[in-house]
Amino acid sequence: MKPVNTEAQPVNAEAPNAPLVLGIETSCDETGVGIVRGRDLLANTVSSSMDEHVRFGGVIPEIASRAHLEAFVPTLEQALETAGVTLEELDAIAVTAGPGLAGALMVGVSAAKALALATGKPLYGINHLVAHVSVGLLHHDGAAVAGGLLDADGRAADGLGALLVSGGHTEILRVGDLAADVALLGATIDDAAGEAYDKVARLLGLSYPGGPAIDAAAQGGDPAAFRFPRGLSNAKYMGSAEEPGKHRYDFSFSGLKTAVARVVEAYEAEGEEIPVADIAASFQESVVDVITRKAVLAATENGLNTLLLGGGVAANSRLRELAEERCAEHGIRLVVPPLSLCTDNGAMVAALGARLVSGGIAPTGLEFAADPGLPVTQVSLR
């Protein structure tokens, strides 16, 4: 075993076709280690600290970071066992370098660097958001796990977009080539959608995480009972296709949260029982309406005919329902990966790493810093 040279290595002219890559994800509250061979998913081990955040009603970065440190080696060990491979067999290691929580990212990055140093394998510091789209590459038991969205080179056959909706992200992406061409079409300017769910769940006395709690409470409610705002939907923000406004494809959920609080307070002031089901259904309708409306608008105006749904909120029943309905209306193919690959995981990081190895992209080396605000246009760090 010889320590790896820390200088960036030259582009590999004979990049393996099906590289064995281990991916590490610690950007939020899931410690994920995934292993892929080319496009084949071999292991996707996740340890979540979600239970430790329940009493706070949201992810506490310090608690998440502490949990990552304790979970990392056991998660790594289990992923290797599940995949039936050894560290020596790996062709490369990939780790989420950002965007995400700074302290949480640093645990994964420190561990990944140590692993790369100890094994002498090349290390890629990669983009978390682009990794979410990379599940579109994966196959499991001979079948594509997410509709085989990308050709063998990681290029989208034709217009591919992604809609990422989670506790930390709400973004619309255009994907030309996973390794080289990803653009941000729209994003939230304040809270992420999942964060709005958590905050509203608390207003309504529902449990954390708010997504499933509100989804369940909304089942018996009237989504038209309250007309809550659709953020950034006014003409001045939207503009037109020819002259787009500043926030045509962007989202805002903080005003919506405030509107829900006003309604709840009004009922309390009157001493009346809060109509939880109706508020939950109306809130959910507002979130899902504006997300799907803007995603479909961005798709049709940017020549995207396929939309990959990613992030934990992809589990939301109403989001899936309305996204399917509206995509169908506009001739857009909606692809929803299995939930274990929608939420944060290491397999998606490994999948993107494998794509970078196959594409002959130079590894990042050991000297890079995690970047909590890494822009989506930067697929891997150089």
């Binding site: 970071s65 302290g103 140590a114 100890a118 608390r202």
Partner: protein, 250 residues
């Protein structure tokens, strides 16, 4: 036995230490004064130090890591690095309180400058110190294993976190003594000739090299190294469980 030693409890440092009883020594070491870039620098530093020491990972007998106390994020970078290296190299990972590195230096001061009991204090930020009480007396480990008659430090109490005023009236060594000299009863500031660590004792930070020498002293006195690498955070996260929401009333 060769130990790869890491400490990221204050500044970050890496060393290869030979613990052999005859002449425990630091074969190579590296440190940075930067207290905020541990995640970036540690792995390349390990590579550098192994290279300088001309040691291959296969020649190591273990990885030793300072478990703090220290600021959380930097501390975790060292622990994540050490645990992962040990896992990949199939080596034992040993943990030791980072303050022991400075305690070792004090225990090896020339007899005239060496207090029988003392405090090691480091910067805990928020106008507080991490501190622990050590004794430099050789009453624990028989000095028969230590033919030169030099002594090792023994933890008496701590580690704790709190205001400098809580520290007992014993000589205080380490960066905490420099930061809060006016609030401590006996900060040690004068350079001690013959000390293993250079500079004013009031500026001493835990260093991986001295941590390794402290481990060597333990092993050579017949003690065993702990494989507990749980971080000594000493503080909970700042997060507060939210109270009941304020209700609007008519």
């Amino acid at each position: 036995m060769l130990l790869l030693c890491l400490d990221s409890s204050a500044a970050a440092s890496v060393a290869v230490v030979d613990t052999d009883a005859g002449s425990p020594r630091v074969l190579a070491s590296w440190e940075t004064p930067d207290t905020r870039a541990h995640a970036e620098v540690l792995a390349p530093a390990v590579d550098t130090v192994l290279d300088r020491a001309q040691v291959a990972p296969g020649g190591l007998g273990g990885v030793l890591v300072g478990t703090g106390p220290g600021p959380f994020t930097g501390l975790r970078a060292g622990l994540a690095t050490a645990r992962t290296l040990a896992f990949a190299w199939r080596l034992p990972c040993y943990g030791m309180c980072s303050l022991a590195a400075i305690a070792h230096v004090v225990a090896r001061l020339p007899a005239a400058s060496r207090p029988p009991q003392f405090v090691v204090a480091s910067d805990a930020r928020r106008r507080e110190v991490y501190w622990a009480v050590y004794s430099a007396s050789s009453d624990l480990h028989a000095s028969s294993a230590d033919p030169a008659g030099v002594q090792s430090a023994r933890l008496i109490d701590g580690p704790f976190v709190g205001p400098a005023e809580d520290v007992p009236g014993l000589p205080v060594f380490g960066r905490g003594a420099g930061l809060y000299a006016d609030r401590l009863r006996q900060p040690v500031k004068e350079v001690v000739p013959g000390a293993l660590q250079t500079g004013s004792p009031a500026e001493w930070q835990p260093h991986a090299g001295f941590l390794g020498l402290a481990a060597a002293a333990t092993v050579n006195a017949g003690g065993t190294l702990s494989q507990d690498t749980a971080p000594l955070y000493l503080r909970e996260s700042d997060a507060k469980v939210p109270g009941p929401r304020k209700k609007a009333t008519a």
